[in-house]
Amino acid sequence: MTIPDPASRLDREVIAMRVAREFRDGDVVNLGIGIPTLCSDFVPPGVQLLYHSESGVLNCGPLADEADGDIDLINAGGQFLQAVPGMSFFDSAEAFAMIRGGHIDLTVLGALQVSARGDLANWFLPSRGVGNVGGAMDLAVGAKRVIVAMEHSDREGDSKIVSECTFPLTAMRCVSLIVTDVAVFEVTGRNRGLWLIEVAPGWDADAVGSVTAADFAVSDELKEIELL
């Protein structure tokens, strides 16, 4: 077993690139703030997505230049958007009916912790004592598929993949794929468990295990993360 140098961890853009391989033509996608937002830069050729935003817009387009910002055209992160053909606007009740009613094919979210069963904790940092839930719980429960895109370890170097979340939960058993800067796990099976399917260059299953605070099974077809 070799634990690679921390420098061998993947960049945020590469995590996003790997997640973007999960996009299917025609998917309705909601991207969280942070690494998830970057995924839109790496949509595979031939794939057209409909982006949904909780701010009340479907098929929203790229960011506007700051100087062209229209206060009546923002995304869920408060960024100004360009108008694009085929958009539609609606109120918050409709925006969340779309999420909660199972109409979002895929959401990509950041996380503070993900458990081996796919429990997600991403809204409340106990040290702050107060937090913003925003639409996180609605998305985690309502989207057909939830992918977590995050760094594998937190700033203290502790694993963000854990046996049981110690931070307050966003939703139980909701995550189906975890893409980090060292590995890709599926959350699968009747009892829901982690299944290591890909590793970053220079990493192997043992090395991933040494930085992961949860048990996982290793795919017979374990391979290096493919980005194309």
């Binding site: 703030i33 935003s53 909780e54 701010s55 009340g56 817009v57 700051e66 100087a67 910002g69 229209d70 206060i71 009546d72 055209l73 923002i74 992160g77 408060g78 960024q79 100004f80 606007f89 609606f90 109120d91 918050s92 009740a93 969340f96 999420i99 909660r100 409340f124 940092l125 702050r128 004592g129 107060v130 937090g131 913003n132 839930v133 925003g134 639409g135 996180a136 719980m137 609605d138 429960v141 309502g142 307050p168 939960l169 966003t170 939703a171 139980m172």
Partner: protein
Amino acid sequence: MPIDKTVPTFEEAVADIPDGATVFIGGFGGAGGMPHRLMLALRDLGSKSLTIAGNTAGIAVPTGFGWPAGEEPIDHAILVENGQIAKVIASFPVSGSVSRKNAFELAFERGEIELEVVPQGTLVERMRAAGAGIPAFYTPTGAGTDLAAGKETREFDGIECVLETALRADFALIRGAVADRLGNITYSGTSRSFNVAMAAAAEITISEVDEIVEPGEIDPERVDTPAIYVDRVVARGAQGKGSR
């Protein structure tokens, strides 16, 4: 008499909001769809011990969330800093940045304001339920989390759901783009946000708009908040569309 819900000034529009009232404040978080002038008037009125409900409790200064570059937001902070708020009900009550706290978070740390955090979708659905005569509904959102603590739960199709109740207010302060004198309101772009659900869920709904026109000047296909939900409309006049 022809129905005319126009109120000439922001001061008159909010004059009867008493101490202890529950007040919805519209918008999503950015400048669009946020009733700035009504909030300023409520600040000047000075009503105390208010419960305010909406998506945020104000944003940090200056985080830029949905605000034109360099502009200092006029938002919930002006009420918080004036000591008028007893309780906040919101999904996004604090700044997105741990290091740049908003006025609410500082007051919360001092123990001056009570907080109820509600998932954004549940929050707007609770308002929508109030407007639609639904006293309570079940949702899987929040099940098994701290935000469902103490709430009734029940399984539907094997999925644990939480019983959530309608959320009403005494007053809704909302903002539209154009109103007619009957109280029909149309919005622009993403500024519908919480305004639509709030309009139907308050006893008295007061809308700030860029412009007030005669009935018939708004396309009936473009009315997003029909007049039935609106009690007073007040025009921003020279300010028109804008963030101040």
